[in-house]
């Protein structure tokens, strides 16, 4: 029997969502079969089977998030197929012993492990000592049961692990000051909701037994940790299961858990749309930008030459089959300008500025759900044709959700073009930790006064959003000015 675990599909992957099971319990599995689609932060990848057998259990439902390395399914010889519903979410329901007893045979991995844990420390190779054996035996009960008791919370902890991590991400990287005394209880997984919930194991157990919502309590321990005293205080105040009847009768006694959410009216009005991992990560990363001081610089370029250049290139390249878009020219032009303004090709590094050695341009691509920024690497060293081919391929695969992580990570500067939607001008939000992003509006004809005469010219508005911590106005303006010059003399794009 083999546990299938959540694979690590990229260096940075910490968790994944099972977006679709290709196999069901009881199905035969061959090596190389696709078991499931796994959604990582930006992409969806297939999980292949490495072992053959019968899919005995699915430990996770579609849409569930699991940390890397956690078991998600069991493949075996078929003897452990559980035709009932494997309700791994029955946390806290019923009596613990009962659950232990009910634990079907197809879960022996856990049982074995518990026993092993309990036995191993006392195992002595000299089997003569009765007292040792007795000690070991007596113990195998106790810790084993304890382990079982803690098991139901695995799910709880698991479903929340993303919150801890996201919180850590938001809080920034500088939280390495864990005391050796361990009083800041890093081991406490959060209970639910957005913030990690620190509580002692005992407080959690008491709360579970008495049906108390831990999140509703104030912790009096270090760092706000909820300890036994807090739960007992709540119990005395009449919270929890003991007063369940009172509450039912409407005698809601004082500080009953306030955290019970309003019952969601299965409404005609509101609809909750589940966000995918990509949307969640995007939201988180964008939220990081909330406190970042940015300013915006806009300029209008005369795009006639650029568009004419594009037409000419496309005419010449027709037989090759490559078509160059305005965005491709922008990518290359930005790369060229960045090469001479390396300070713009930078990132905010928390306590330092990181000046990037290479120029990788990120291209914002709207997806049906969410946004992704595939990266054209070394755009300053590639021909416009190469860039066109590459960005076309990236955009297509981005829309299919088939990008590999390295294809949407590591950009040093980004471009967002909404020109095709006839947006004249807009501000883009920086793709952190980059120093700037270029927003490109639609090219349109406008009357232009030149040398006292009115002309009709095609103009295009470029807006640079800049992280003021990395760049000041003059430096950013110089870059934008150069970019404008390059675009207005398009030959400079290709030399």
């Amino acid at each position: 029997m083999t546990d299938i675990t959540m694979p690590r599909l990229s260096d940075t992957m910490e968790e994944g969502v099972i977006s679709h099971w290709h196999k069901q319990v009881g199905d035969e599995v061959h090596k190389g079969d696709t078991l499931a689609d796994i959604e990582t932060d930006k992409t969806t990848m297939e999980l292949e089977a490495y072992d053959a057998g019968i899919l005995e259990r699915l430990l996770v439902s579609e849409g569930d998030t699991m940390s890397v390395g956690e078991p998600i399914a069991v493949v075996g010889d078929g003897s452990g197929v559980d035709d009932g519903s494997e309700d791994q979410d029955d946390e806290g329901a019923g009596d613990e012993d009962e659950r232990t007893a009910d634990t079907p045979d197809d879960e022996p991995a856990d049982g074995d492990e518990d026993e092993r844990t309990a036995d191993t420390p006392d195992e002595e190779p000299v089997p003569d000592g009765d007292e040792e054996e007795r000690t070991a035996d007596a113990e195998s009960e106790e810790p084993a049961r304890t382990s079982d008791e803690t098991r139901p919370d695995v799910d709880e902890a698991r479903s929340d692990s993303d919150e801890v991590e996201s919180d850590e991400e938001t809080a920034g990287p500088a939280s390495d000051d864990a005391e050796p005394t361990g009083t800041e209880d890093a081991s406490s997984p959060p209970d639910d909701g957005g913030q990690p919930l620190f509580r002692s194991p005992l407080a959690r157990k008491l709360a579970r037994e008495n049906d108390i919502e831990l999140r509703s309590l104030d912790g009096s321990g270090p760092g706000g940790r909820i300890v036994r005293a807090d739960v007992e205080k709540a119990l005395e105040a009449g919270a929890g299961a003991d007063v369940g009847d009172d509450r039912a009768r409407g005698g809601a006694s004082s500080p009953a858990p306030a955290a019970v959410p309003e019952p969601a009216t299965a409404g005609e009005a509101d609809d909750e749309v589940r966000i995918n991992a990509n949307q969640r990560i995007t939201a988180e990363r964008l939220s990081q930008m909330a406190g970042v001081p940015t300013f915006h610089l806009s300029t209008t370029i005369d795009a006639d030459a650029l568009l004419a250049f594009r037409r000419e290139v496309n005419d010449r390249l027709e037989e090759v089959g490559t078509r160059i878009s305005v965005t491709d020219l922008l990518v290359r032009a930005a790369a060229v300008a960045l090469r001479s303004h390396p300070e713009v090709n930078s990132a905010w590094g928390g306590d330092k500025i990181i000046r990037r050695g290479r120029v990788h341009i990120g291209l914002a691509v709207a997806l049906e759900a969410g946004l992704i920024v595939p990266v054209v690497r070394d755009a300053d060293r590639k021909s416009v044709g190469q860039i066109a081919a590459e960005s076309g391929d990236l955009a297509t695969r981005a829309r299919e959700g088939k990008l590999e992580p390295h294809e949407y990570q590591g950009s040093t500067f980004s471009i967002s073009n909404l020109g095709m939607f006839s947006i004249g001008e807009f501000d883009a939000i920086i793709n952190p930790p980059e120093a700037a992003i270029l927003a490109v509006g639609a090219a349109g004809e406008e009357p232009v006064l030149r040398d006292g005469e009115l002309h009709s010219r095609t103009v295009m508005t470029l807006t640079l959003t800049v992280d003021h911590r990395v760049l000041n106005g003059a430096v950013a303006a110089a870059f934008l000015q150069e970019l404008q010059a390059v675009l207005e003399e398009p030959l400079r794009i290709v030399v």
Binding site: T117, P121, E131, A138, E139, E142, T146, P222, R225, V227
Partner: protein
């Protein structure tokens, strides 16, 4: 029950076991004519003669090998190292031979030997003579290791060790030799592998052994006056380790501190703390805390040596921290 010293308890136990079983003999440096560096073998050469009280040259590896061979052939040697630190010279004999012969020879021959040695710091004997090497031996399957904290256990555990068919190390502590306590008359055997609750309490469990028990008991008494009820668990046997006893205690008190004279990292305390986590997780109201010696070679200078070893202040402070961390009010158990 008579009140005698730890030293006297060991001496009288050796005597009575030698009287009881002719196969028991003593071997070590200066244990005969000089009656032992710490006078544990006082009077035994006179009583039992040089055949059963064998003085050896300074040759730890050699006489350890001799003792192992004698044990394999049916005798029951009780070997003394002047200090546990010298056992390092015989480490291969102890770890690779004494501990493994029974299993490696498929149970055809056992090694019923006892190794006695004083260890620990606090006597201004400097770094190489003041070590707590118990974890080195507690780590090795095939060895048993006991560390009595009082005269009664010294008698009970040494008796059990001599009668045990496996190699047993009896860890004595230099600073305990002169301590006194009641010791049961007659045959008194303390089962190896059993911890004991040295003092009952309900608010917090302090788990310790050997000299640390004295510190723990003193702190427990002091804290009693402040309304804190401290339970003290004496491990007594470091291998096998009686996890059940201390886990049950922690389940009652919901808080745990491990106290030891050894260095903190990778020590007995680490093993105990991990076991508490495995066996009493849901009953903990705060993380398990450890009190141990500073991680330095123990200094010779008295004030520095004192500063390096954990004392009652250190233990009291950590207990207070744990109580504070769990919003202990002092009346919650009343």
């Amino acid at each position: 029950m008579p009140v005698i010293s730890y030293r006297e308890a060991l001496n009288s136990t050796l005597r009575s076991e030698m009287q009881r079983d002719e196969d028991v003999f003593l071997i070590g440096e200066e244990i005969g004519t000089f009656e032992g560096s710490y006078k544990i073998t006082e009077g035994l050469l006179e009583e039992f003669g040089p055949k059963r009280v064998r003085d050896t040259p300074i040759s730890e590896e050699g006489f350890t090998g001799i003792a192992i061979g004698a044990a394999m052939l049916g005798l029951r040697p009780v070997l003394e190292y002047m200090t546990l630190n010298f056992s390092l010279l015989a480490l291969d004999q102890v770890v690779n031979h004494a501990a493994k012969i029974y299993t490696m020879f498929g149970g055809q021959t056992a090694v019923p030997m006892v190794i006695r040695a004083p260890g620990g710091g606090g006597q201004q004997l400097a770094a190489t003579h003041s070590q707590n090497l118990e974890v080195w031996y507690a780590h090795v399957p095939g060895l048993k290791l006991v560390a009595p904290s009082n005269p009664a256990d010294a008698k009970g555990l040494l008796t059990a060790a001599i009668r045990d068919d496996d190699p047993v190390i009896v860890l004595e502590n230099l600073s305990l030799y002169n301590t006194k306590g009641e010791v049961p008359d007659g045959d008194h055997v303390t089962e190896i592998g059993t911890a004991t609750v040295a003092r009952q309490g309900s608010d917090i469990t302090v788990i310790s052994y050997s000299r640390g028990i004295r510190t723990a008991l003193q702190v427990a008494e002091e804290l009693e006056e402040d309304g804190v009820s401290v339970e003290v668990v004496d491990l007594r046997s470091l291998r096998p380790l009686d996890r059940r006893t201390f886990c049950e205690s922690v389940r009652r008190t919901t808080r745990a501190v491990v106290h030891e004279d050894d260095w903190l990292s990778y020590g007995i305390g680490a093993e105990v703390a991990a076991s508490v986590q495995e066996g009493a997780f849901d009953f903990l109201d705060a993380p398990v805390r450890r009190v141990a010696a500073a991680e330095v070679p123990l200094p010779y200078a008295k004030p520095l040596e004192r500063a390096a070893l954990p004392d009652t202040d250190d233990l009291r402070r950590v207990i207070r921290d744990v109580l504070d961390a769990t919003s202990f009010t002092g009346q919650e158990k009343s």
